[in-house]
Subunit: 332 residues, 3 copies
């Protein structure tokens, strides 16, 4: 991990990822004790959060440590630009917030996933990267529009628990309809992590919902290196056929990233991109995954979400365990 931050799935080498998953599996089996007693993790949420917020706080409590939670409501506006003349709305520079917080806490987690410009702008993860640059303590990505690596760790642990070995296994990442514009974070992170595990990944989405070209390229290289593959399909039926894991999630259109109305118009005809029993029947008895929150009967039906192959709550539960492993590696 670069300077012991955890900003991207790509910050981990394959052996590091394996180690982390092994540690998480052990931490799940048996509580590691008060190994982080007296340690504090500062969490900054610029968007609402349920799983991330609660799973991190529980992880710290189980390790004897403590979370300090700040939300955008607790703070004034922060300036991210270098050398800015700060005569506008921002009351403090990110560098001062990051350096100050680094004197107080032992690590910092940042969620900043709002759409704030074009895709070319938001894909840079300016706020997160700024914190990582100036903080003297490890910084964790709690989700941006570009990556959500903690979710991917939980997802890979869940697949490992259910499939034992992941190499060569067929995973379909299935785009779903969602009435709101969504981030690409979970998709980008699981795509890269699955590729690194050597899975045969099919990325299924309508035309116009391509993932970031650099991420796709990196995923293909990772897959090649680890004996897997990454395919793209615009045919939802064909993509699901034979899948051993079907991972459903919606994501946004990078071309119309800063134009929600246009994106909504493009999506209007895509409401049949929904995971239902018919689609699941064409898979090879696939596990059903989704990072939550999920729009029931829109992105996926009650029948499949509550069905026997659904592991959506296992994914959520595993957030705590992978994060305990991550925190132990970064802070112990």
């Amino acid at each position: 991990m670069s300077k012991r931050d955890f900003l991207s799935t790509a910050d981990l080498s394959r052996p590091e990822l394996d180690d982390l998953l092994d540690l998480a599996a052990r931490a799940k089996g048996k509580r590691p004790g008060q190994v982080l007693a007296g340690k504090t993790l500062g969490l900054l949420f610029f968007q609402p959060s349920l799983r991330t917020r609660v799973s991190f706080e529980v992880a710290m409590v189980q390790l004897g440590g403590h979370c300090i939670n700040l939300s955008s409501d607790d703070l004034y506006e922060l300036e991210p630009e270098e050398q800015a003349v700060m005569d506008g709305a921002a009351e403090e520079h990110v560098k001062d917030a990051a350096r100050t917080l680094s004197r107080y806490v032992d690590a910092l987690g940042i969620r900043s996933a709002a759409r704030s410009g074009t895709w070319a702008h938001d894909r840079q993860e300016l706020l997160l990267r700024s914190y990582a640059k100036y903080a003297g303590v490890p910084v964790l990505n709690l989700e941006t529009s570009f990556e959500h690596p903690c979710q991917a760790l939980a997802d890979v642990l869940t697949m490992r628990e259910n499939l034992v070995s992941l190499k060569g296994r067929r995973l379909t990442l299935q785009w779903c309809y969602h009435p709101e514009p969504k981030s690409l974070g979970p998709t980008h992170s699981i795509l890269q992590a699955a590729a690194m595990m050597g899975m045969q990944v099919t990325l299924a989405h309508p035309l116009g919902f391509e993932v970031d070209a650099a991420v796709l390229d990196r995923s293909r290289k990772l897959a090649q290196e680890h004996g897997g593959s990454v395919q793209v399909s615009n045919d939802r039926q064909a993509a699901a056929r034979g899948a051993e894991v079907l991972y459903a999630r919606s994501w946004g259109c990078t071309k119309h990233w800063d134009d929600a109305e246009r994106e909504a118009m493009v999506k209007r005809s895509l409401q049949d991109w929904r995971v239902d029993e018919a689609l699941m029947a064409s898979t090879q008895n696939a596990l059903l995954m989704h990072p939550l929150p999920v729009r029931r009967n829109v992105a996926a039906t009650d029948a499949v979400l509550d069905g026997p192959r659904s592991v959506i709550y296992e994914q959520a539960a595993n957030r705590t365990h992978v994060q305990k492993a991550l925190l132990m590696q970064l802070l112990k």
Copy 2:
């Protein structure tokens, strides 16, 4: 208690209530130690809270445990309806939030006391009951429009401390004027709990401010079973006469529940329903109780709230102790 939830005063049998009060009294005398070390209680507040929030957090800290606090600001909107097609504003179904949180925390407390429809609708406590249905961990009612059972536990403990034996003692639940529409939660809960303690309860309110018929009926049955009684009076002076405890609180008009303007109009002539020294003088040197927050010099005068028979802060302080007892019973 049904599935070890605590949703209503009526979830407790009389022996269970006695046990809980005894445990609370012991926990008040001597701190029980770190009996809930490593345990977490998730608190979800959909309305502001001072006493409930702080008394639960202190209770967990004193038992070695930890509270995770979420407010509606931290969350997106949740869908409570079964089989909903979630293409509206709600980003997640209550069932998914409840099941996910159950993987993280050891118990969940929910405050959801907003008026959101007719009385027929709100008396069902849909959000709370949904959480209780789907959560795999104990769920606590932190106040709905229908019940506030934690307050009632503290109230009964306070009366026990001051009157020693409660059977046959005269308690008047006195409606007060308040400029805002209020819930029936505290009133319903103390009414049932006092009835179960065998007290002689007089429910005093203006015409039109009847409590829920099912609650009144249940209270009368409980009183009968335990040697007490429940009377209703529309005469504030007569109702106070001879009382040994005068419990003041405002509550809303169930007939105009979804029409705040109409309720305000009805209340306009009721501003003399205020507890003052003259009213207290007609009691049998009654204890003055109120669950707080109180509108001073509107619902009750400074003179009586700050007077020698006021136990309003004892009631508040006892929240911590009854809740420690409750948490020990549910989580130990």
Copy 3:
């Protein structure tokens, strides 16, 4: 300290201040252990906070205690006036909130620094003083418009660490331009604390930005008593000359306190009141201090804030240590 509250720098005698700083220095060198185990500190923020919030929470965690954080979002409006007939917006009286919270927590910190009337009104710190009057536990000032004594403690510790002895040392408190109306809290507190340390203080500000007359008077008396002095200058260049510490901060205009537009108009011509390398060059190699948050390149330039004599992050870090000392003295 009056009743063991900490509301003002002036609550401390010189020996008490020395003791507190010595204890802070020791607590910084070596963690004092779980001396506040089971103790809780309630923090009430009526304005956003980063340093104060996080430094107090970390201080309590390091001492084995726990913070309970409430913000104005968690609460309804509170009534501060005695004998008010509460038929307006306020749902609870400050006295009831203070007395109730005192039954739950071991100390209370209050931030209430909003401009809510004329200077004659706001200088009375009504909300803070109300809490202090009614709370049964120690109350800490987390910043009002009038004082920010925790910041001053950290500032004095920082100067002591860098200059060893403070008596007779030359400190310039330098007004800076800021686009928003600011409080006088940090300025009033450091002015009095530096005077008590026997420093030679120069208060430099434009005409019209005089500090509170009573505070200036008290500071002059303290300085005289402890071998120091307090001068006022309206010439920013002259005031900086020969300074050993240059402490930059903006503050508001008490004459136009309740008229933000008028204050903005007055400030329009004062944008050259900015600390830059030229100004620093005229000092005697002065330390640069600022309590943060700072408007970079408006109040002070990047060059001086990031320069070798800047101790702005040391000031922030020392918040934790002085607050640990304070909490140990008040709560142990």
